[in-house]
Symmetry: C2
Subunit: 256 residues, 2 copies
Amino acid sequence: MPKTILIVYAHPEPTSLTRRFVSESVKTLEQQGHTVLQSDLYGMGWKATFDESDFPSRINSDRLAFIQESEHAYTTNQQTQDVTTEQHKLLAADAVIFHFPLWWFGMPAILKGWIDRVYAYGFAYGYKGEGNRYRYGDGALKGKRALLSVMVGGPEDDYSPRGINGPLEELLFPITHGMLFFPGMDVLPTHAVYGTGKPSKAIVEKEIAAWRLRLEHLFNESPIPFRPQNDGEYQRNILAEHIAVGMTGLSIHIDN
Amino acid sequence: MPKTILIVYAHPEPTSLTRRFVSESVKTLEQQGHTVLQSDLYGMGWKATFDESDFPSRINSDRLAFIQESEHAYTTNQQTQDVTTEQHKLLAADAVIFHFPLWWFGMPAILKGWIDRVYAYGFAYGYKGEGNRYRYGDGALKGKRALLSVMVGGPEDDYSPRGINGPLEELLFPITHGMLFFPGMDVLPTHAVYGTGKPSKAIVEKEIAAWRLRLEHLFNESPIPFRPQNDGEYQRNILAEHIAVGMTGLSIHIDN
């Protein structure tokens, strides 16, 4: 069954490993008969900074309040064209893949700015104008799949369960849980390539093959079992006492 | 003893709560006799996107490799003026305070872009050209203090130890540990204000008073006890077996 996949990527160098992976994604997915949409953030000259120019027609021209202006622009169809285009791509997609280098344990600013600007009130949060009612497993992007493909300069040990940087998947929790599961997407385990400084040709080929395998299972792999907000495991947004008894931290929000 | 404090902030609206806190910081610190430096990222029109224009004189004009070009630009004094100015401010500061609204569980893109661009190789990482030798408690910014002042739209419960978003301090670990402790700074516990959507005037005054208290103790409060890389608690960048025995996750890197 052919699907539509949106690929969002953030690296300006066509010969970078990030872009090598993007090319592989496009090729592999199209060979499978899928439709691929692309958002080449550097190539598009994506505006990273969320600011007053995102609101050409303000509800309050005296004072810039982002949430109110975002809601107003979204609900009255007065967003900028670049933002609506990305929202339409997200809505058209069955899966979204993000390709980026890990910079300071997170996204490059240009990609964070894609989230900041595209994730309007009424769309990615405040869905149906109902505040936090629909989120974490529910929302406008419910049922779509999301997958991070991350290029990591440092060695894998540094990101291992007791590695000095912290485990990669926990460092990415604000993205996987907070940006992708939040508006409803099913998030697959992150695909990381480590030690990307100067990989040998053989290693690159091995890594590309491993990535191809992830792509082939994009629609049948099990997502990270984040706990949905609205399935009874939370009571007033706090994890119920009988679940993960006595524990705290990010990992309690995963039903392992 | 008068000190120098750098305030980096990311909100374009002068009447926002973020900017109210900035004003309070400037006033309180100057009243104490300190020197205050400011980086008003929106006001400066800070370029958020790290790209080829950051390297006016490339070591390799065929292929853009960020780390190599960053090292080259930094060591040969060929960075852009906006970046060197920020680096000089950081070096001049005894403490750095970041004021920003929490957007999607992290920094606004413009602030992430300040990190991406100012944190050059040789400066914030690869100190002395020695890869990862100096980091996590050691590096160019060693001995300085850092403090996040974060405006959070949602309620405090959602960020509590078992709250659905995850505990705030763990969500911010990539920043506090990964961006501030990494180049050597002592990081104070985050100062958060929750429910910043429409606070009453009384609540704002109460919050400002609480913030003033934090400012007054900026130089005698205890930092988060992140474990330094080079004090013997890590063996090849993995936490030694006898410490936090059998535990994993972000919190093991804090010596509580």
